[in-house]
Symmetry: C2
C-alpha cells in the first residue's frame, strides 16, 4: 500500500467520503488511489477557489468536513480566499495540498513555493508529511483538528514521494472531543444581568442559530425583555415560518450602531465582539456603546446551545409563542429590491438552502425571510467575495434532496464563476439568481462613506459596464441553462420552472 | 494632501504610470486620488489574478513595473499565483495592498487576515505603511525594490488610515543600481572551458535572450562548438526570422535529459540550475549528467548580456551567420499540433507578442517559431496555470501597437477567464487561440509518467467534458467576439480577420 492509498483509507475511516478536487501532477497518486478504493466521491472544480468554497458549503450543511485536493503552492494560494471564509464560518475543512517530492523541493523547481507559509494564516493545523508510513497518522490528526469544535481548517501537505512510496499504514479515526460545556458562573451572571432591568442584548453566533437554541433564546428574550440579534456574518441560520424571526446586525455602519444604541449589557453567545466591517474616518468601530458592558456567556468554541437551554431554565423562562407574519406573495412589475425579495421568498421551496452573496441589491432579502417557507440561510462570513457560487455547489452536495437558491451579486460572481461548470457536471439542484446591476455598488456606497467624491476614473473602477457581461452566455458557456428577467412576473415563472426541474439553472436579473 | 495622494504622486515621480486594479473598500482613497491626479492609467480587472498577471505581462514588454491595486488579505491571496509566476519571470511588480485601518486591525473584523504573511513568500520587499507621512517614502523604497535588477515583487501594504489621513509627503524616485558587472574571472574561466575541446553547453536565461546577446551567444557557440539552449521557462525570448533559432530545454523528462546528454561542462548565463519540473519515482531530477561540471558565468542578477559580449571578444568569436529556414505556410485540413503550428506561424504579424500557455497541444509551436516573422515569445514561468490571458492583457498595454497572439490551453484558461472582459473594455489587440481538447492532457501524461493507471474516477478528474465548455459563449459573455474552427482553412481565415481589426478576438479550436 502506498502513502496515497493509506491516506484515502484513513480519510474514509475518519468519516470523510467527499473530496472536492483540482489536482495537478503532484497529486496524481492520490487521484489514482481513488480508483482503487471505493467510497470516496470526487468532485472536480476548474479553479481552486471553487474547491475550497464548495468544501465550506458542504461542511455547513452536512456538519462534516470534506477533503479539498489542491495543487502545490500556487494551487493552494488560489483556494485561500474561500478557506479564509470557511475559517470565519468555523467550518471544518481538510485541505490536502500536494507538493514537490521531499528530495526535489531543495532544487527550487519553478512551482516550488512556501506552501506552509501560505497555509498557516488560515489553518489551525498545518503539517507536511515526511514519509509514506506517517501519512495515515498525519491524516487522522488533521481530521481531528478539522473537527475541533465547531470547525477548523486543517492543512495536510503531501510531498509527492510520501504519496507514491510504499509502506503506507492506515490510521484509525481519533476521538473527537465534544465542545466544552458552558461555564456555570457565566450562566449565573447572565441570569443576574437579565433580571437587572437594564438594557440587555443577547448576540448569537454559531450553533445557537439552529432552530432549537434559537427558541430558547427567544424564550429568554420574551421573559426578560432583552433584545436578541444574530451577529453580522453567520455560517447558517435556521429560518422561515414557525421559527424565531431573529434579526442580524446590519452592515451599514449607522444602522449597525443603531442596533446597539442604549445598551447597558451585551451578552455574547458564540458571537464575536461586534465591530464595524471596515473603519471609517472619525467614526466609531466598536458597535456597542462605550458604557455597555460586554459579557461572554459562551465563546465560539463552547457549547452555546447548552448555555441557552441552561440560561432559559435558570431564569424560568416559559415557552414563548412565535408571532405569525404574513406570507410573502409574488410581486408584479419592475424589479426593485423589495419586489424581488417578495417574489423569491413567496416561491422559496420548503427546506431550501439559501446562499447569500446577494451584495447591495439583495441585502434586504434576509430581513423578510422569516416569512418564507422553512429554510437554512448561509452567508458570506469572511467578506472575501467569490464564495457564493462555490458554497452553493458544496451545499447542494452536503444537503441532497434540498433545493439550493443562490442569491448572487454580479461583481462577486465573477470571482469564481467556474463553479457553474461543476454544478452542471454534478447535475446539482441549484437555482442561481444573479443581481446584475453592472457595478460594484458597495464600493460606490463606501466611497461616499469615506468622504471621497468619485470622478470619471474612480467611477470606471467601480463599473462593470462597457462591456456588459452577458449572464446567459456565461452560464450556458459553463453548461448551465439560463434565462433573464426584467420584471417580477418573468422572475416568478423562471423560479417556478427551475424548482420543478433537476439540475442547475441561472436567472439573470437586469437591475439598477 | 492625504497619504493616498502622496502615494500616487510618488508613483508617478518614480515612473509608474499604469495601475492594474481590483479595489475594495479599503482602497477607496487611492481610487479617489486617481481622479485628482492626472497621469495614471487605471485598468480594472474583475479578479485579482487578472490584475497580477497583467502586471507581469506589462513588465515583460515595457521593462517597467506597473502597480497592482489589491484588496486586503484574501484579495492579495487571489493574486498570489500570478505574483508567483511574475517572481519566477523576475518581472518588476509593485503590489499595493489595502488593509484595515491600523487601529481597526486588532479588532479582527471579518476581512482581517495575515496580509504580510501571505505577501512574504512571493515578495523581495514587504512593508506595511504606518502613517500618511511615511507612505510616499515607503512607496519610493518599494519601487526601488521592484526595480532591483532584473525585477522583483515589492509589496506595499496600505492600511486605510494611512491613505486617508492628511500629511502625505511626496517622495522623489530613488536611484536604481545598474546590474552588477560580470566577474572577469568567470569570463576567463568560461573561455578556458570553451577552448578545452570538451562537450560544453551555454544555458541562457533572462536578458541574455534578447536579440543582441543571443547573437553573441550564437557567435560563441559557432566559434567553440558549444551547444546553446535557453532554459525551460523564459520570461521573453526574441524570436523569428533573422534571429538566433535557440532551442529551449524541453518539458518532458526524457527529452530534457537527452538535451543535456554527454555534457562535460554546463555554463549558466542568467539561468538557474536545470532541474526537472517535477520529480518522478526512480528518475533523475537534475538534468545535467552527474559527471558534468556546472559553471556560473552570470547569476540572474548580474549583467548577462555584458558577459556574453565580453566572452565573445575573449575567445575572438567572429560574427556568425544565422541560417535561413523555410517560411511556414498555412496548412490545410485537420487541426493537428503540427498543422496548427504551421498555420499560426505562417500568419503571425510582424512584431507580434506571443503568449505561451499553450499546454500539451501547443507545446511544439515554439520549436518552429524561429521560422515566423520577428516576435517576442513570453512563457508561463512559474508553472501556476492561469497566467496566459492576464499576461496577454498586460502585454498589450505594455507594447501598444503590437498584436498579441495568446496561445491558450483550455484547462488553464479557466483559471482566470475574467481577463477577457478587461481585454474587451480596454479594446486591446489580442487574438486568443484556445486549444480546446476538453481535458487536462498534461495530467494524463503525468499519471502515466508516475506509473499510475487511470480508472473511471481518475479519468473524470482529468476530463473537462460533460459538459463541454462553450468557448464562443464564454468569450461573448465577457464581451469578446469569438468564432470556432475545426480545420486549418477556417483557422487561417479567422486569424487573418482578427489581425486586421482592432480589439480582442477569440478563436476556439476543437482539437483532440
Amino acid at each position: 500500500m502506498n502513502g496515497a492509498e493509506s491516506l484515502v483509507h484513513t480519510l474514509l475511516a475518519c468519516g470523510i467520503d467527499t473530496c472536492f478536487a483540482n489536482p495537478g501532477t503532484s497529486e496524481m497518486h492520490f487521484v489514482a488511489a481513488l480508483d482503487r478504493i471505493p467510497g470516496m466521491r470526487a468532485v472536480l472544480g476548474l479553479f481552486e477557489g471553487v474547491v475550497t468554497g464548495a468544501a465550506d458549503g458542504y461542511a455547513r450543511m452536512s456538519g462534516r468536513p470534506a477533503a479539498c485536493l489542491l495543487h502545490c503552492g500556487p494551487g493552494l494560494a488560489n483556494g485561500l480566499a474561500n478557506l479564509h471564509n470557511a475559517r470565519r464560518a468555523r467550518s471544518p475543512v481538510l485541505a490536502i495540498i500536494g507538493d514537490q517530492a521531499t528530495y526535489h523541493r531543495p532544487l527550487d523547481a519553478p512551482l516550488t513555493a512556501d506552501t506552509e507559509g501560505w497555509a498557516r494564516p488560515v489553518s489551525a493545523f498545518v503539517r507536511t508529511a515526511t514519509s509514506a508510513a506517517q501519512v495515515g497518522q498525519d491524516a487522522a490528526m488533521a481530521v481531528r483538528a478539522a473537527r475541533g469544535w465547531p470547525g477548523q481548517i486543517a492543512s495536510l501537505i503531501l510531498p509527492a514521494d510520501t504519496a507514491w512510496d510504499e509502506g503506507g499504514v492506515v490510521a484509525a479515526a481519533l476521538p473527537i472531543a465534544p465542545p466544552p460545556a458552558p461555564d456555570p458562573w457565566a450562566i449565573e451572571q447572565a441570569g443576574r444581568i437579565l433580571r437587572s432591568g437594564e438594557a440587555v442584548m443577547l448576540l448569537l453566533g454559531g450553533a445557537t442559530l439552529n432552530a432549537a437554541p434559537l427558541e430558547n433564546a427567544w424564550r429568554i428574550a420574551a421573559a426578560s425583555g432583552a433584545r436578541l440579534s444574530a451577529q453580522q456574518q453567520n455560517a447558517r441560520i435556521a429560518r422561515g415560518r414557525g421559527r424565531v424571526p431573529i434579526a442580524r446586525v446590519p452592515y451599514p455602519l449607522d444602522q449597525a450602531l443603531a442596533a446597539f444604541a442604549g445598551l447597558r449589557h451585551l451578552i455574547l453567545v458564540g458571537a464575536s465582539l461586534p465591530v464595524s466591517f471596515f473603519a471609517y474616518p472619525g467614526r466609531p468601530n466598536r458597535l456597542a456603546p462605550p458604557a455597555c458592558d460586554i459579557h461572554i456567556l459562551t465563546r465560539p468554541d463552547q457549547d452555546g446551545p447548552a448555555a441557552l437551554a441552561a440560561l432559559a431554565a435558570a431564569i424560568g423562562a416559559p415557552p414563548a409563542p412565535i408571532p405569525e407574519s404574513p406570507r410573502p406573495t409574488p410581486a408584479r412589475g419592475a424589479l426593485t429590491p423589495e419586489t424581488v425579495a417578495e417574489t423569491i421568498l413567496a416561491l422559496l421551496p420548503d427546506e431550501a438552502v439559501v446562499i447569500d452573496e446577494a451584495g447591495s441589491f439583495g441585502r434586504g432579502i434576509f430581513a423578510q425571510s422569516h416569512r418564507a417557507a422553512q429554510h437554512d440561510w448561509l452567508q458570506l462570513t469572511g467578506g472575501a467575495i467569490g464564495d457564493g457560487l462555490p458554497m452553493a455547489t458544496g451545499a447542494a452536495i452536503g444537503a441532497p434532496g434540498r433545493r439550493v437558491v443562490s442569491l448572487q451579486a454580479d461583481g462577486s460572481a465573477m470571482y469564481t464563476l467556474q463553479a457553474l461548470w461543476t454544478q452542471a457536471r454534478e447535475k446539482l439542484d441549484i437555482t442561481t439568481i444573479v443581481f446584475a446591476n453592472r457595478r460594484y455598488a458597495i464600493l460606490q456606497h463606501e466611497l461616499a462613506g469615506v468622504g471621497a467624491n468619485p470622478g470619471p476614473r474612480a467611477h470606471a473602477m467601480m463599473s462593470l459596464a462597457d462591456p456588459d457581461l452577458d449572464w446567459i452566455k456565461l452560464a450556458e458557456g459553463h453548461g448551465v441553462a439560463a434565462a433573464g428577467a426584467t420584471d417580477c412576473e418573468t422572475l416568478a415563472t423562471l423560479l417556478a420552472q427551475s424548482f420543478r426541474h433537476r439540475g442547475p439553472f441561472l436567472i439573470a436579473l437586469n437591475v439598477d
